[in-house]
Symmetry: C2
Subunit: 551 residues, 2 copies
C-alpha cells in the first residue's frame, strides 16, 4: 500500500504543524529571520497546473498496456504532475511556483520482476527515458525527468511490496523493493525481527529507494547504513537480470552487491533484496546531555566510538542548533514542571553551560537489557570526563517522539515564504571541526552577499571510528520571486566548500542531478569514466534514469 | 623488508616442525592415515629445477631497465622459479615434482606509483602479462603465470612498503601495499593503534595481497574482513590512476572502493590504501569451552552473534576437528598438571562431553578492560545455556601462541607423502549444519572412490549475524605419483557440493585460477559479463593478471 501523502509537500494530508501553537519557536524564528505575521505563500491547486502534451504515441501506450494491462499504466495529468518531482526545497518551490516544464508522460506500476524487465526492454527498444520511483522523497533531483529521450515514463514500484520470506534463524528476509518503511517494519516485527532503518523519510520512502540512494537511518551508528544491511540484490536491466549471492560474506571477486547499491537507477531497477535483520531490541533508552562547547562534545563522541562502543543514535548539535532545539521544547503540562525546567536552565547557565556555546547531545541506546545497561554506564562515565551533564530523559523522549516531524514543519515555514533546506556531508574526525566551521561560514557569507536574513547550524549524527557525518540546516528569508536563484547561490557556496575541504558531496542523500557536478570533483575523471563504462555496458541506450549521478 | 622464507614451502627457513617430538599427534595421524615410518618425499633443490628460456627480448629488458633501473629487474632463474607459484597444496606438490612448465620471464620491483604506472603502460603497449605479487601466499592460483601473452612479468611490490602517515585522531593511516603484516603492525603499534588483521599467513603476506583477495583475519568477527578495514584505495591501471575518497561513509554513487577490493589484480595494481584503525586493545582474553555436540555449539555461536555481541575470535570445531585439536595439545611440563589434565578429560567424558561428539570452542575477546569483562560475563552465561563448559585458559593460550603454525606443519606432512589441503566457504545459519555435513560427505566419498585413506573435518571461524564461514581441513594418503590427480578429484567434489548447496566458493581465499569455474556458477552469466565489461574498459589489452577470476 502506498501511504496517502501531500503531492505539494510532506506526508499525511491530515497532519499539519501549526506555528501559532509554538510561541517559543515563533519568537525564536523572529529573532533570526524576517518572519511575516502570517502565511504569505498559498499552497497550489492541482487544477491550476499546466503541463505539456503527452509525448507517448498511441502505439507506445498500447505497448505499455500489453505489458502491464491498462490498470498498470496511468497517463492522467494528475499522475504526471504528482510524479514530476521529489521533495527537495527546490522541488517544493517549483511546485508552488507552478513550474512544470518537464513532466513524465506516464507512470507505470509493475507487479513482478518480469513486468519490470519487459518494460525496460521495451523502453530500451523504443528509446524512452525510464525513472524508477519508490516513495519519491529524493532531495537531490533523483526522480526528475531530464528529457534525454523522446518521452519519459516513471516506474512506480509500490505494487511490488511483499515480504516474500523471513528466515528467523539466519535473520534475513527476501523483500520486494516497493514496500514502505512502516509496512516493512510491521511485517518483520510480527516475526520478532527488525531492519531498524529509520531515515527521517521512513514513513514515506521505500526499501528500494533507500538501497538505490545509499540511505542512512537515524540509528545507523549501531545498525549501519543501508549498504551494511543488504546481503544480496536482484536488479533488472534492459538486458536481463543480475542476482548477487546469498551469503553472509565472501571472497568471490569484487563485491557486486555494493556496486549496485547506490546506483540510483542508472544500472537497473532493484526487484528484490535480501536484507539482514536483528531481533527487535528488548530495550530502547533515549536521553540527552549537554556539553559546555561543541568541540568538547566532538571529542567525547569520538572517544565513545573509538572505544568500540556503538550507541544506536548519537547526535551532537552545535551551539546554534542547540538554541534551535531548545526553542522547540514543548512546555510541560504542569506549571510546577515548567518552573523546575526554568530553574534547571538557570542552573546550567550558572555552571558554564552557556547559551550560544553549549551543545546538546542526543544519545539513544538499543539492544538487550544487559547491553543497554553496560553501554549506559560506560558512556555516562566517558561523558563526565568531557564535562557533559545529563539533562534528563524528557529531551531524549521528545526527540524520539518527534523524529519524523521536521519535513512537516518545513511546509509551514514555506507558507511563510521562508527557505528551509538541509545538506549533509561526512569527513574524518581530524577534519570535522574545520569543515563544520567552513561550510557554515560559506553559507553565512552567501546570506550576506544576497542581503537576506538567514541562519544555519549543524549536528553530527552518523558516527564512525574514523569520522562523522555533518548535517546542516539552513533557514533564510529569500526575496520573493528570487527563491530558486538565491537557493542556488547558497547551495553552491556550501557544496563548493565541502568539496574544497575534504568532505563528500553526500553522506546519505545521494547524487541525483543536483550533486552531479561535485561528484565529478570527488571521484575524479577516472572514477566518472569507470561509472560511465559500467553504465554503457549494462544500458547501451542509456534509458535508465539518464543524467543521474553521471552526465 | 621481505621476510626470508622457504621457496618450496612455508615461512622462516630456520623454523621447522618436528613430527617426532609430538607423539600424541603422530599416533593420531597413524589412526586415520597411512603414515610411513619416516619422511619419503625429498625437498627440492633449486639447482635441479629446469625452466624454459626467457621470452623477453633484449629490447624488452632494456624497456624495463629504463623504467626501473637494472636493480629493479631480476630475470635470473632463481627469481623466475621462486615467483612461479603461490602456496597451495597444488603449488607445493608441483614444486616437489619439479613441474615448472610456465614460469614468469622476469620479476620487477617498483618503488613508486609512477613506476608501477609506467610498467603497466609498457606492458599494455607490448602485450606482456603482468602478475602483481605481494607475499605470494595465494592458495587459489592467484599469482600463477597463464601464458596469455608472449611473455610474463611479476610485479613484486615489496619495495613499496612505507607507512606514509598515521592520523591517530581519525584512526586512519596511509600505507603502501607491499608492507608485510609484522612490519605494518610494528609501525602502527608504535602510535598506539592497530589494524588487527591477522590471517594465518600474517607473517608472510602483505596489505596489498589481503585487499586484492578479500582476506579475513582470525579476529574478523570483531574487526571485520579486510573490505571493512579499507577507507580508500589508489590503484594504477594501464590508463592512469583511480583514487577513491577519504571519507568514513558516503552516498556518492556506487562504492568504487568495494569494486576494487577483491579484484585480484585484474583491474589494476593497488599502490596505496587508507586503512581504518583501532586503539591497541588494552585487554586480550582467549579461552576454551566444550559443547556436547557440534550442533549445540552452532546454536550457541549463532545466539552470541545475534544478541549483538562481537567476540574477536570465535571458532567452533566439529567433533573430528576437536579430536585433531586435542591430539595437538602440548603435554604440560609438570607431571601433576598432566594428571590433572587426564582426570579432567575423564570427568568430561563421564559428564557427556564424549570423544567423537564433543565440540571445542575457542573464544577470544579483545578491547577495553570494561568491554572484555562485560563480554566475558555475558557470553559465559549464554554458553551455559547450551551446556558448554569452560576447559580452562590454557587451551585459549595455546591456540593464540600457535595461531600461525599450521602451514609449517603442512610441510612436514608433505615430507611424509601426505596430502594436506584446506578449503572454506560461508553460508547462512539455517544452512550451516547441512552444508557442513554435505561437503564432508563429498570429500569422504571421494576418498572411497579413490581408494585412499583420508580424514576431513571443519570449524566455523568468521561469524556474522546472518551466518558463518566453514573452514575444512583435508588430510589424506594419496597414491604416489597421483597426488595432483587425486587432489583434483577431492577438490572438485568439495567445490561442486558447496556450489550446489548454497555456499560461496570462497569466504577469504579468493578466486584466482582454481575457483574460476565455480565463480561462474555463483554469480551467473550476468555477473561474469559485468566483470568482463569492467575489465575491458580498464584494461582493453587484458594484460593485468589475465585469467584470474574470469576467463
Amino acid at each position: 500500500m502506498k501511504p496517502k501523502s501531500k503531492w505539494w509537500g510532506w506526508g499525511n494530508p491530515d497532519t499539519t504543524y501549526h506555528l501559532e501553537e509554538h510561541p517559543l519557536f515563533l519568537s525564536y524564528l523572529k529573532t533570526i529571520l524576517e518572519l511575516p505575521d502570517k502565511a504569505i505563500v498559498t499552497r497550489p491547486n492541482i487544477q491550476d497546473i499546466k503541463i505539456r502534451e503527452i509525448r507517448l504515441s498511441g502505439r507506445d501506450i498500447d505497448g505499455l498496456y500489453s505489458i502491464l494491462t491498462p490498470e498498470g499504466v496511468d497517463h492522467s495529468d494528475e499522475a504526471r504532475i504528482t510524479n514530476a518531482y521529489g521533495k527537495s526545497y527546490k522541488d517544493l518551490i517549483r511546485i508552488r511556483l507552478k513550474q512544470f516544464d518537464a513532466v513524465p508522460d506516464a507512470v507505470v506500476f509493475p507487479r513482478s520482476e518480469s513486468e519490470v524487465r519487459d518494460v525496460l526492454h521495451w523502453a530500451a527498444d523504443n528509446k524512452i527515458e525510464v525513472i524508477p520511483r519508490g516513495g519519491g522523497t529524493s532531495v537531490v533531483g533523483g526522480v526528475e525527468t531530464t528529457d534525454a529521450h523522446r518521452a519519459t515514463i516513471v516506474i512506480d514500484m509500490h505494487r511490488m511490496n511483499r515480504v516474500l520470506a523471513v528466515d528467523t534463524l539466519s535473520l534475513v528476509a527476501d523483500v520486494e523493493p516497493g514496500i514502505y518503511g512502516p509496512a516493512l517494519e510491521n511485517s518483520l516485527q510480527k516475526h520478532g525481527v527488525t531492519l531498524s532503518h529509520y531515515p527521517e523519510s521512513f514513513e514515506y520512502s521505500t526499501l528500494g529507494g533507500w538501497i538505490a540512494a545509499r540511505s542512512a537511518g537515524q540509528q545507523s551508528t549501531l545498525y549501519g547504513k543501508i549498504e551494511d544491511m543488504v546481503e544480496s540484490l536482484t536488479i533488472a536491466t534492459p538486458d536481463g537480470v543480475i542476482k548477487t549471492v546469498n551469503v553472509p560474506a565472501a571472497a568471490n571477486g569484487p563485491e557486486l552487491t555494493r556496486l549496485l547499491i547506490g546506483s540510483e537507477g542508472i544500472f537497473g531497477i532493484i526487484t528484490q533484496a535480501r536484507i539482514k535483520l536483528r531481533p527487535v531490541p528488548a530495550k530502547k533508552y533515549y536521553t540527552g546531555y549537554l556539553f559546555k562547547s561543541f568541540n568538547e562534545g566532538i571529542e567525547c563522541c569520538r572517544d565513545i566510538l573509538q572505544r568500540g562502543l556503538t550507541p544506536a543514535a548519537i547526535r551532537l548539535s552545535d551551539a546554534d542548533e542547540t538554541n534551535f532545539a531548545f526553542s522547540l521544547i514543548e512546555p510541560a503540562k504542569s506549571a510546577v514542571k515548567n518552573i523546575i525546567h526554568k530553574t534547571g536552565f538557570a542552573w546550567m547557565q550558572s555552571r558554564g553551560y552557556v547559551e550560544g556555546k553549549r551543545a546538546f547531545l542526543l544519545l539513544g541506546l538499543e539492544g538487550t537489557a544487559s547491553r543497554v545497561s553496560y553501554e549506559r554506564r560506560t558512556m555516562r562515565s566517558i561523558i563526565r570526563q568531557y564535562d557533559g551533564i545529563h539533562v534528563g530523559r524528557g529531551s531524549g523522549k521528545q526527540w524520539y517522539r518527534q523524529r519524523f516531524i521536521n519535513p512537516y514543519r518545513r511546509d509551514v515555514l514555506l507558507d511563510y515564504g521562508l527557505m528551509v533546506d538541509t545538506l549533509e556531508t561526512a569527513t574524518e574526525w581530524s577534519n570535522v571541526p574545520y569543515l563544520h566551521h567552513e561550510v557554515l561560514r560559506a553559507i553565512n557569507s552567501s546570506f550576506g552577499s544576497l542581503n537576506i536574513k538567514g541562519a544555519a547550524f549543524a549536528h553530527l549524527s552518523h558516527l564512525y571510528t574514523a569520522g562523522s557525518s555533518i548535517y546542516y540546516i539552513i533557514l533564510a528569508s529569500p526575496h520573493r520571486g528570487k527563491e530558486l536563484e538565491e537557493w542556488n547561490v547558497i547551495k553552491n557556496a556550501a557544496c563548493d566548500t565541502i568539496l574544497r575541504n575534504g568532505g563528500t558531496i553526500s553522506h546519505h542523500h545521494g547524487v541525483g542531478l543536483d550533486h552531479r557536478r561535485w561528484l565529478k570533483k570527488e571521484i575524479g575523471d577516472a572514477g566518472i569514466r569507470l561509472l560511465k563504462d559500467i553504465k554503457t555496458s549494462i544500458d547501451p541506450n542509456s534509458v535508465l534514469n539518464p543524467g543521474k549521478i553521471i552526465e
